[in-house]
Structures are given as structure tokens and as C-alpha cells.
Symmetry: none
Subunit: 228 residues, 4 copies
DNA sequence: CATGAATGAGCATTCATTCAT
DNA sequence: AATGAATGAATGCTCATTCAT
């Protein structure tokens, strides 16, 4: 190893340091949660002194914010670039669901962190995670509202409740994933959720029934023509 | 003061003691959350010494478990007595949703507690609350499965995902209730949720309609052919 | 040693505990000052755990307050009982000076503590010591004011400034005592201070003297004239 | 941009650097006190790195010393030039008092610093401020001693105690100024202090009494001569 | 010379749990 | 059985000082 090579690593750049710290924070918070994850542990994991962390972050909470921010940033960048290119409110909702599921299944650790530390309620500074989760919900709600306006969706239900059901469902699926570790079949789950809130689960709704009947009559007519 | 009068209160029975403690724990945990609610506060509220609590409970976590257990017991007693008397899987699901909403809106305090301390994940002893929430989910899932079997519901979706959506939706509504304090219109929300997962949000599909038209035209043609 | 005797010591009473803690706090604060004196040191000196201190005191500052309070309590009890029995404003001022000097020379440790931690200026909760020092100043100022009213003292000077001079002088003497450890001759210093602010340091004014001489010569002349 | 222009500022001289640092230290210490004022803040204010400070000063305490030293230097330069030109020990003492009061009221910031951080006692390196205050005391004490020698002052009191009273009084007035912000009427306070230690506060001092008596007897003698 | 990142000891405070009484 | 005093480990955070660059 040449002297030059040695000289190249000794002091990581500011960005590298921050990356190291955030990554260690992510690991520790994911493993122990925000409350139980200690600064000492993060410093140890990063191989630095506790004080160093405070050079880059105002405190524990700021660290958590950065960890979450980085996680969500990827998600929102992707969504903002992709969403406009999708036609149809149903399809766009499908995409949002699928993208969220991918995010969940792609980073089991942080998913657990978000899953646990989501509810502050009394904390002065609410965690970043709820804001971002809320943004996803808003994206979905906007889609539903637009869908209702364009008559794609009927207005028998409240958009916010539909989104609560989608969002809450995704959350529980995420949580189940966290606990069991059983991998998520993204496409299947996306289909299942989409189908449920699009068409419901009732088998005997009028439309479907009449469609079935019509098909049956069509077949009979075809048969008649065939045999004529 | 007579001896009899003295003898009447002197030592509360074991059950009474436990009741006192659990009730105080409920109050404190609801007010401050599990982490921030301290044993000292509970003991003070119960008018006893801290040590006494440890005679009846293994530790803080056990106390929480008992608080939650009692809360859910009322719920499940009610459900077990009412559910069998309701006909139709849709109606039974509706009942479960409505009953859960009532439980949420009826005890804002404990709802907040459950809402916050739901996710342990790494704690040795996982909170009781998830088990009980899970039981509600199981009740719902059973209903959906039975509905599919009896052809009331179609099988294009997964029962567990439907239940995740219902349960998750209820959770988010509960959380929103906790944060805003805005009272829940139980019947309206029940309708909205039921409609969503039963019939979906899609208007009658244009495709289905044109298909009907097409069939009609085919039929007319067939008729004409028939009668020619 | 009997069993009974053994049983008598094991758990010190609440008052004893507090005494132990306050005494240790006094020692530590006197030795290191308030800022540098640590709770750990106090606990160690008292032979107890840090947490125990917090059972009896709200925090570090409360401990200091108690230490100072106890110190001043003796002083003020004494003053309140003695002051009314002394006649004459000069004598009462003398007593206050002397009593303060006794307090200073009698407890070199706490004198240093007060001497050092007297000036908060920006702290939210000002230390108790200034309040109490202020009380002494008020006692003295009241005496001076009453003296002026009764024409014992002339009104060419401001009572508050006289008291500042007495109080400030005592403080510097205390500080000097702290640094050198040289014992204070209480009576001599009392005399010196009293003389200074009562009569000042100017020699009988030459003008006054020559006037006296002149008068004497006039008298002698008068005598001679008389007897002639 | 020419090379010359660049070359003109690039490296401040050692003296300039020190000046910058000391001035920033003065600002920070005055604003936050010695303990709470941090090296980082000083470095930021000076627009340099923390490490640079340590190239010019041994540590935080040295910085404080230099700040105080410079403050007192102006004072002592002035005093040394003015004092010799004043006749009479009383007048010289008056001047010293007045000059000190001017110093106090002229720089409220550093006055607070001195007022607060005056008493180290156990610190390895005692603050410079006491030494300098002591020098003022020495100047005053010299004056008093000389006054006693020349019979201007009587020797019933100790010079050091008189100076303690003057110095301590000035200190308390300074502290009061710091706390209230109420401007000091330099001339009035000077008069008040001077009057007090020169003539005392007793209205009926023996000299005055005997003078009154002498005058009375003089009048009586004159009367007798008149009537003889 | 100057930098400023890194250090790491130090501190006040909290609280679930234990155990002597 | 009940008490509640005592424990002491654990935590987030500060900052004077050092030293590699």
C-alpha cells in the first residue's frame, strides 16, 4: 500500500461522516427503536465519539429526522417522476399502492422504525414520519377526489376513509412483514388491495350479475347461430 | 368509633387491591403513555406504596397488559354475545366495524394508549394490545372466509388483506380522533367503510356497459336471424 | 451490643438523612463551589446513592438553597432576638456589624461559598444568598434611616451608600479571610468599621483647632481680666 | 484584482490577531460570563478557528486574564498620570473613587464580568481581576496611610479597613448598577462616599460638640468683657 | 500558521426494581 | 402484607482541548 493510498482515507469528508452517522443511526434506531436506541450505541457503531455526532446534528431527534428524510426522499423522487406519466385514476392509485409496498418490502429495517415511532401525540415536535406518511395519504386522496370529479369513482364513500383503509391496510401488512419476515408478493397484494377498494368484495352486485347474465345469453345466441 | 366500623375497611381484598391498581395504571398510562407513565405516579394515584404493586404484578409491562386485557374483555364479551344473533356475513362485518368504532370513540384515553404503544417488536414481552387487535382481525377474517365459502363474497381478493384494510383504516381513524378530538360519526363511518369494501369505489365500468350494449345488439341480430 | 441497640441505627430517620445530605452538600459546595461541586461527590461524601438525593431535593439548586438557608437561619434567629434589646442606632449598627463578622469568622467554609456564588445576574432563579445578604443590608439601612429621623445621624449622605460601604467592606474582609485564612479580630474590626462610618477618618479640622485655641486664649484673657 | 491588493490583507499581524481574539473574548465573556461563554463562540465572533486561539493563549483562563488586563490598563494609565497632579490626600482619594465609578458606569459589560467572575479561590490560576482590584485598593490604602502620616487623617481606624469599605461599597454599587441598569450619578455618589468616610455620619461628634461649647463660652466671655 | 473535526470525560437527572423494616 | 427509602445504571448533551491535515 503506497503512502498516497494511505493519505487518501484518513479524514473522511463531511458528507461521508454524515453518511456514516446517519447509516449507524438508521441501524440502531431500526434495531432498538428511537427511545431505546442510544447515542452511545450509534457512536460506537459509527466508530466515532459521541460528541462528534453533535457536530453534525442538533440532537437525537434531528438524527431520526434525517434517517427518515433520506428514506422518504427516494420514495417521493420516484413518485413525482412517475405519477404524471400514468393515465387513469385507478391506475395511478394502483401505482401508489405498489410503490409503497415496494418501499416497505425493500427496507425491512426502517419500515419497523416507522411502524413503531409513528405516534407521538404529545411530543412537541412530531416525528417526520407522520408528515411523510401523511403526504402519501394526500397523494392518494387527491387521486380519489379527482376520480370522483371525473366520474371514474362514485361518491358513495368518503375519500379520506378510502385512503385510511388503503394506508392503514398497507401499514398492517408492513407490520406483519416486520414480525414474520415473510416476504411480500408485491404484485399479488397490489391486485388484492386494488380489487377490494375498486370493486368491493361482494360477488352479487347488480353490474356483475347482469354482466354474467348477458354473457350467458350471448353464449346461447351464438350457439343458436352456430346451429342454425 | 366502634370496632366493627374499623373492621369494615381495614384491608381491601386482594381483588379490590388489584382493581385499584389497574384502574390507576389505566389513568396514568392513558394520561402519559406507557414509557412516560411512572410506577410512582400509579402508586400515588392508587394511594399505595410502589412496592405493593410488585406484589401483584411482575412489573410495569404486566400492568399494561392487565389494563389492556380488561379493556378488550368488555369488547369481546359483547361481541361474543351479539355476533351469533346477526344474520349475513355483510351484516356481521358491519357489526364488527361499528362495535370497534364505538369502542374507540367511547374511551378516548385508552384508545390513545393503544394507538401509541402498539408496536413493541423487540421487547421481550410483546404488548397484549396487538394480540387483541389481532383477535378482532381474526373475527373479521373468519367472517370474510365464511362469506367466500357461501358465495356471498367473491374470491378475487385475500381475506387477510381485506381485514388489514378494515383494521388499518379503523386504526387511522382512531388516531385521527386522538389527535383532533373531533368526535366520530359512528354510523356514517361504518357505512362508508362497509360500502367501500363491499362494493368498491368504481362507477359501473364503461367497458361492462358497452359490453351489455354489444350483447344486446348481438341479441337483436340473433333474434332477427332467428326469425328470418 | 444488644439486638435492640443494633436495630436502632440501621435506617436513619428522614430528618437525619436530610441532615447528612445537606452537610455533605455544604462540604462539597464549600470546597468546590456550586458549579464545580457535583451531585456525585455529594452522594459519595454522604455515603449514599445519587438518586437518594433526589428523593429529598428537587435538584442541585434546591440543595444549595437549603445549605444557605440553614446557615442564615441561625444568624437571623440570633439577630431578631438580640436587636430589639439594644438601645441607640449606633449601637445597633455596631451589633449588626459584629454579628456578621462573627458569622463570617465562625464558618470559613460557607463564607467562601457565599462569597463566590453571590452573583447570578442572568440566572432565572437567583441564589438564596443574595436575598439573605440583602436582608442584612435592609436591617442596616433601616437603622441608618431611623438614625437620621431621630437626628442621631446627619443626612449629608445616602443610607443605601453607607450600607453598601459597610456591607461591601465586610464582604471584602470575608474574602480576605477566605484567601489568607488569617483569623479576624472581631472586636477590633468592628471598632474600626464603626469608627469610620460614624466619625470618619479626618482629624479634627485645623480650622476647628485654631478656633479652639483662639477661644482658649480669649478665655485666659477673660480670666485675667476678671481677676484683675 | 492586483497582487498588491491581495497582499495587503492576507495575513493580519500577530498583534492584530491577538487584538481581534481579545476583543471577541471580551464581547462573549461580557455577554455570557466566563463559565458559559464558550471558545467556539469567541472563535466564531473573531472569524477564526478555535485552534488558532490556542496558538496565542494557553487556555480559556488566559483569555479572560488578557481581557481584564486590557480593561484595567486604561484605568491605571489614567490614574498614574493624573494622581500626582492632585494635592491633598482627601482630594486624591476622592479622585480614585470618582475614577473607579466612571470606569464602572462607562463599561457596563465588563463591569458585569468582573462582578460575576471575581472569586476563584480554588482555581489553580486565580483570576487577574482580583489582583487589579487589589491594586486599586492599594492605591487607596497608600493614600490613607500617607494621610495618617501627615496628620490629615487620624489613626483610630485601620487603612485597610477603610479601603475595604470604599472598595466594597463601590463593588456593591456596581453590582446594583448591573442588575437595575439605572445609571449612576457619579458626582453624587462620589460625594456621598467621600463624606461618609471623611466625616462619618454622626451628627453630634465630640469635636463638633466641644466646638459648640467653646463658641458658647467665647460668647459668654465676650459678654463679660462687654459688661465689665 | 491556521484549521476545525474529533475527542471523551463530565454532569444532572430519571425511574423500575429491591428489600429492610 | 405493606411500606417507601434506597439503589445505581443509563441517558442526552456540553465543551475545552488536541492534532492531523
Amino acid at each position: 500500500m503506497s503512502v498516497v493510498a494511505l493519505a487518501k482515507i484518513p479524514r473522511p469528508s463531511k458528507a461521508q461522516r454524515i453518511d456514516t452517522i446517519v447509516e449507524s443511526a438508521r441501524k440502531v434506531f431500526c434495531a432498538s427503536g428511537f427511545e431505546k436506541g442510544s447515542i452511545v450505541d450509534i457512536a460506537k457503531d459509527a466508530g466515532i465519539a459521541e460528541g462528534t455526532i453533535y457536530r453534525y446534528f442538533d440532537g437525537k431527534r434531528s438524527l431520526l429526522d434525517e434517517v427518515l428524510h433520506r428514506h422518504y426522499a427516494v420514495f417521493f423522487d420516484d413518485v413525482q417522476q412517475t405519477l404524471p406519466s400514468i393515465e387513469g385514476h385507478s391506475n395511478r392509485l394502483r401505482y401508489l399502492i405498489r410503490r409503497t409496498l415496494l418501499s416497505i418490502s425493500g427496507d425491512r429495517g426502517i419500515c419497523g422504525l416507522i411502524t413503531r415511532d409513528k405516534r407521538p401525540l404529545d411530543n412537541e415536535t412530531p416525528s417526520l414520519s407522520q408528515d411523510l406518511n401523511r403526504q402519501i395519504a394526500v397523494l392518494m386522496a387527491d387521486e380519489v377526489k379527482a376520480g370522483i370529479k371525473s366520474r371514474t369513482f362514485h361518491c358513495n364513500t368518503s375519500p379520506s376513509i378510502v385512503c385510511d383503509m388503503i394506508g392503514g391496510g398497507l401499514e398492517l401488512i408492513a407490520y406483519s412483514y416486520m414480525r414474520t419476515g415473510k416476504s411480500i408478493d408485491v404484485d399479488k397484494v397490489t391486485d388484492s388491495i386494488s380489487l377490494t377498494f375498486l370493486s368491493g368484495i361482494e360477488s352479487s352486485d347488480p353490474t356483475t350479475e347482469s354482466l354474467a347474465n348477458l354473457v350467458e345469453r350471448l353464449e346461447q345466441t351464438a350457439d343458436r347461430l352456430d346451429h342454425s
